[in-house]
C-alpha cells in the first residue's frame, strides 16, 4: 500500500494549525451574540489536542472554525485561522473546499445521521478521494479496505458493500473515521465521536482512533465533554467555558494538578457516592417476564427483577440489551407474552388500557430525552399542572401554588412557570420532567437513561436532586442506565442485562466487585477512568486474556 509513502515525509512537531484570537457570533432572537470569545490554538503535526467543556462552551463551533467553516446562523467575526501557512478565513470558498476532506477531515458525533442511507458505505468512504481526483477507483477501494482492517472492522473486504443501516452504531462510527482517514489528511477534527456509543463499543472505537492517528502521524482536535475519554486520547487539553479558555496544559499535568476551580469541579463529578443501605420489602416484582415486538424475536426472556421499596435499583447493559423494553413492559406499553408484574402485592393488568387511573398515578416514567418528552407548545405550568389536575382535581390558583411548590422542590425558580420548553436549558427541561412525575405523587419512578443526554456537571446535579427527593419522599427508583459511574453514585442494587436476559443481580457492592460473570466484567472494564494509561492497560489485559470478544464485533 501507498500509506507509508504518504506518511513518511511528514515532519513531526512543525506547527500545522494556528488559530489566533478567534471570535464567532451566533444569530438568535434577532441579535448577534458572541459564542466564541477570543480563542488561540496552536497545533503541531502529529499532536492531539483535547477540547472539553459543557455544552454551550463553543467546542464544536471552534472545531468547525478550524476548517474555516461557520454553521448557518453563525459567523466568524474576527481572528485568524491559518492551516499550514494558508489563511483559511481569507482563502476563497473553492480553495477551502479543496482542503476539506483531502487535508482537513471531520468526524461527527452521530455517524448514523451523517451517512447517506441510500449509498453503500465504501462509496461514501472513497467519495472524497474521487471528488478530489486523488486516486483511481480501484486503488481508493483497496485503501478503504485497508483502513477498515486497521480500524478492526469485522470482515473488512465485505463490510463496505453494506448500507449504513446494516451495520451497528460502533461500526458505522469507525467507518466514518475511515472516511476521514481515506485521503490521509494532516488534521482530523473529532467532534464527540463516541458520545452516542455504548461503553463496550466506545473502548474499541477509541482504541481504533488512537491507533490510526499514531500510525499516520495525523494531528487531531478531539472534542468531548467526557474527561476520562479525553485523558486517553489527547496530548494536551484545553478546558473551555462560555467560549473562553479556562485552562490549558499537557494531559498528565492537567489531570494531576488542575489550576482553576472550574476545572476541579469537572474533575469532582465522578466522586459522587452514597453509603450502603439495607434492603427492604419489594414494592415491584417482575416475575419471569418474556416480551417481544411482533412475534419473532424475544426482547425480554424470563426476566426476574425485585425492586425494594424506597431504594434505587439500577438496570445496566448496552443498547439492545432490553433494559428500556423492561421499562415499557412495567408501565404497560408492551404487554408481556408470559409472566407477570406484581406491584405492591397485587399483579398488574398487562396492558395499559386495563389499568386504572390510580395504578397509573403510582408508577411514573421519566424519559431520556427531555426535548421529546415535553410538548414544545405547552408551558411549564401546563406540563406540571396537568397531572395535578388530572389525578388530584386541583385547578386555578391552588394548582398554580402547587406547581410553584414543585418548582422550588426541584430547585428551579418559580418565575419559570410561563416558559416554553424551548426557553429552558437541557438540565432545566429534565428537572421539569422530574417535577411532572412528582406531581402525580408516585410510589415508584422509572428513570430511563435520564442523565445520558446531559453534560457531566448537569448530570451530577440531576443525580443529587433525585437522591435528595428519595430521602425526603421515600420514592423508589428503577434506574435504567448504561453508565457505570451513575450506578456507583446512586444505586442500592444492580441488575445487569445482556441480550434480553438478566446476567447478574444483587447489592451494588457485590455486583461491582469481582468475581464477575464474563459480560459484567467486560462492561465494567470498559468504563473509561481518569488515568491516561487506562486504555493501554485495558487493551493489554484483554489481549492477554484473548478469549473475550467485545460486543461490537
Amino acid at each position: 500500500m501507498s500509506i507509508k509513502a504518504v506518511s513518511a515525509p511528514r515532519e513531526k512537531g512543525a506547527p500545522l494549525l494556528e488559530i489566533k484570537n478567534l471570535r464567532i457570533e451566533g444569530f438568535s432572537d434577532d441579535k448577534w451574540h458572541e459564542i466564541v470569545r477570543g480563542i488561540d490554538i496552536t497545533l503541531r503535526r502529529g499532536e492531539v489536542l483535547g477540547l472539553i467543556g459543557e455544552s454551550g462552551a463553543g467546542k464544536s463551533t471552534i472545531g468547525l472554525a478550524a476548517m474555516g467553516y461557520a454553521k448557518p446562523g453563525c459567523r466568524i467575526s474576527s481572528g485568524s485561522v491559518s492551516f499550514d501557512g494558508i489563511d483559511l478565513l481569507a482563502a476563497s470558498e473553492s480553495r477551502r473546499r479543496a482542503l476539506r476532506g483531502s487535508r482537513i477531515a471531520y468526524v461527527a458525533q452521530s455517524a448514523a445521521a451523517s451517512f447517506n442511507p441510500a449509498h453503500r458505505i465504501i462509496e461514501q468512504t472513497i467519495e472524497t478521494q474521487l471528488a478530489h481526483n486523488l486516486d483511481r477507483r480501484d486503488k481508493a477501494e483497496q485503501g478503504a479496505v485497508d483502513l477498515y482492517r486497521r480500524l478492526q472492522l469485522p470482515n473488512p473486504e465485505a463490510i463496505g458493500r453494506r448500507y449504513p443501516h446494516q451495520v451497528s452504531g460502533g461500526q458505522l462510527q469507525r467507518a466514518m473515521t475511515a472516511m476521514a482517514m481515506s485521503c490521509h489528511p494532516d488534521l482530523i477534527i473529532f467532534d464527540e465521536p463516541t458520545t452516542a456509543l455504548d461503553v463496550t463499543t466506545q473502548v474499541e472505537v477509541l482504541a481504533a482512533i488512537r491507533n490510526i492517528v499514531d500510525q499516520f502521524q495525523t494531528a487531531a482536535i478531539y472534542i468531548t465533554h467526557d474527561l476520562a475519554v479525553v485523558a486517553q486520547m489527547a496530548d494536551r487539553i484545553m478546558v473551555l467555558r462560555y467560549g473562553r479558555l479556562v485552562e490549558e496544559a499537557p494531559t498528565r499535568i492537567m489531570l494531576k494538578t488542575p489550576q482553576e476551580d472550574y476545572t476541579r469541579s469537572l474533575w469532582a463529578v465522578r466522586k459522587l457516592g452514597r453509603p450502603d443501605r439495607p434492603s427492604a420489602e419489594p414494592v415491584l416484582v417482575v416475575d419471569n417476564v418474556t416480551a417481544s415486538y411482533g412475534s419473532t424475536i424475544k426482547v425480554l426472556e424470563n426476566v426476574n427483577v425485585r425492586v425494594p421499596r424506597g431504594r434505587t435499583v439500577a438496570v445496566v447493559g448496552e443498547s439492545g440489551s432490553g433494559k428500556s423494553t423492561l421499562a415499557r413492559a412495567i408501565v404497560g406499553l408492551l404487554p408481556p407474552i408470559s409472566g407477570q408484574i406484581v406491584f405492591d402485592g397485587t399483579p398488574l393488568p398487562p396492558a395499559l388500557k386495563q389499568r386504572g387511573k390510580e395504578t397509573l398515578r403510582r408508577i411514573q416514567l421519566i424519559y431520556q430525552m427531555p426535548d421529546t418528552a415535553l410538548n414544545p407548545r405547552q408551558t411549564v405550568r401546563d406540563v406540571i399542572g396537568r397531572p395535578l389536575e388530572f389525578y388530584r382535581g386541583l385547578n386555578g390558583r391552588e394548582c398554580d401554588r402547587k406547581v410553584g411548590e414543585l418548582l422550588r422542590l426541584i430547585e428551579l425558580d418559580d418565575h419559570l412557570i410561563d416558559r416554553l420548553p424551548s426557553e429552558l436549558s437541557g438540565g432545566q427541561k429534565q428537572r421539569i420532567c422530574i417535577a411532572r412525575a412528582l406531581a402525580a405523587d408516585p410510589e415508584i419512578i422509572i428513570c430511563d437513561e435520564v442523565t445520558s443526554a446531559l453534560d457531566q456537571i448537569v448530570q451530577e446535579e440531576i443525580l443529587k436532586l433525585l437522591m435528595r427527593l428519595q430521602q425526603e419522599m421515600g420514592v423508589t427508583y428503577l434506574f435504567i442506565t448504561h453508565d457505570i459511574a451513575t450506578v456507583r453514585a446512586i444505586a442500592d442494587e444492580v441488575v445487569v442485562m445482556h441480550r434480553g436476559k438478566v446476567v447478574e443481580q444483587g447489592p451494588k457492592a457485590e455486583v461491582l466487585s469481582p468475581p464477575h460473570p464474563a459480560y459484567t466484567d467486560l462492561l465494567l472494564s470498559s468504563v473509561p477512568e481518569m488515568d491516561p494509561d487506562w486504555l493501554t492497560g485495558v487493551l493489554t489485559r484483554r489481549a492477554e486474556k484473548g478469549g473475550l470478544k467485545a460486543a461490537g464485533n
Partner: protein, 299 residues
C-alpha cells in the same frame, strides 16, 4: 445551533424576563414581513371589509333591475349594468360577500372533517388508518371538478349541497397532510407520556397533537381556501354553482361573456377580483410557510 441557544439561555437566566405574549410575537412577526405579504394582507383586509359592509357600500340592491341592460361605464352606473340591467358594481360588491363567505365556510368544514380523520388515522394506525386512507385514495382518483359537477347535478345545486360536496371532496387533501404531519408528532415521547397518564383520546388530540401540527395546517388552509374559491367560481361559471339571483363572480363572468366580443372588458372585472384575491392569499401563505418551515436564510 444548540450551543448558541444553550449559552443564551444561561445568560438570560440572570435577568428577570417578561413573558412573551402572543400579541408581541405577532407584532414582531409583522415588523419583519416582506412587502409582498403586506400587499396580500391589505388586499385581504379590503375584501373582508367590502364583504362585511356590502349593503352599505353598494349603491343599489343586490337584485335590483334597471331598464337598461349592458349600460356603458360612467353616468348612473359606474361600471355599467349586466345582461338584465343590474348594476355591475353592486353585483361585484355582493359577489365578494357570497363567494368569499361560501368558500370560507366550505374550507372550514373541509378542515374540520379532514383534520379530525387525519389525526385519528395517525393515532390509531392499523385498520382504521388503512380504511380511511384507501377511501381517500378512491375519492382522490376521480378528478375533483368532474366529480363535483356530477354530484351537484344529481343532488341539485343548492348552497348547502355546494358547501358539503366541495368540503368533503376537498377534505381528502387535508386528511393526507394532517395525517402525515401528525404521524411525526404521535411518535414523540410526550404523547406517550400523556397516554401513560391515562388521558383520553380527545385530550391527546386537542392538547398534545393539534398545537404541534397547526403551523403547516394554517398555511395549507390559505392554499386550500384559494382552491375552493376557484372551484366554486368554476362551478358557477359552468352553471351548477351559486344560483341566480345571488351575485357571484364566477357566474358574472359567464353571464356577461358576450361583451368581450364587443371589446368591453366588464366581464373581466369579476375574474380580476378572483385573481387578485388568490394572489393576495398566496403571498400571505408564502410568507407564513417561509417563517414556520425553517426555510428562511438566517443571515
Amino acid at each position: 445551533m444548540t450551543t448558541v441557544e444553550d449559552h443564551q439561555l444561561r445568560t438570560e437566566d440572570a435577568l428577570p424576563k417578561a413573558r412573551r405574549t402572543r400579541l408581541s410575537l405577532i407584532r414582531r412577526a409583522l415588523r419583519s414581513a416582506p412587502l409582498s405579504a403586506w400587499f396580500g394582507m391589505i388586499v385581504i383586509a379590503a375584501y373582508v371589509i367590502v364583504a362585511i359592509f356590502a349593503p352599505w357600500l353598494a349603491p343599489y340592491g343586490e337584485a335590483q333591475i334597471f331598464p337598461e341592460p349592458y349600460a356603458p361605464w360612467g353616468g348612473q352606473f359606474v361600471l355599467g349594468t349586466d345582461q338584465l340591467g343590474r348594476d355591475m358594481l353592486t353585483r361585484l360588491i355582493y359577489g365578494a360577500r357570497n363567494t368569499i363567505g361560501i368558500a370560507l365556510v366550505t374550507t372550514l368544514l373541509s378542515f374540520a372533517v379532514g383534520m379530525s380523520l387525519g389525526l385519528l388515522a395517525a393515532i390509531y394506525r392499523g385498520w382504521i388508518d388503512q380504511l380511511l386512507s384507501r377511501a381517500v385514495d378512491v375519492l382522490m382518483s376521480i378528478p375533483l371538478l368532474i366529480f363535483a359537477l356530477m354530484l351537484l347535478s344529481t343532488f341539485g345545486s343548492s348552497v348547502f349541497n355546494l358547501i358539503v360536496i366541495i368540503a368533503i371532496l376537498d377534505s381528502t387533501r387535508v386528511f393526507r397532510l394532517s395525517r402525515a404531519v401528525a404521524m411525526n408528532v404521535v411518535v414523540m415521547d410526550f404523547v406517550e407520556a400523556a397516554r401513560l397518564r391515562g388521558e383520553r383520546l380527545g385530550w391527546i388530540m386537542r392538547r398534545e397533537i393539534l398545537p404541534n401540527v397547526m403551523p403547516p395546517m394554517i398555511a395549507e388552509f390559505g392554499l386550500r381556501f384559494c382552491f375552493v374559491f376557484l372551484t366554486i367560481s368554476a362551478l358557477s361559471f359552468l352553471g351548477v354553482g351559486i344560483q341566480p339571483p345571488t351575485a357571484d363572480w364566477g357566474s358574472m363572468v359567464r353571464e356577461n361573456a358576450t361583451l368581450i366580443t364587443y371589446g368591453d372588458i366588464t366581464p373581466l372585472l369579476p375574474a380580476a377580483a378572483i385573481a387578485l384575491l388568490t394572489v393576495a392569499v398566496n403571498f400571505v401563505v408564502d410568507w407564513f410557510l417561509h417563517r414556520t418551515s425553517g426555510l428562511k436564510d438566517e443571515h
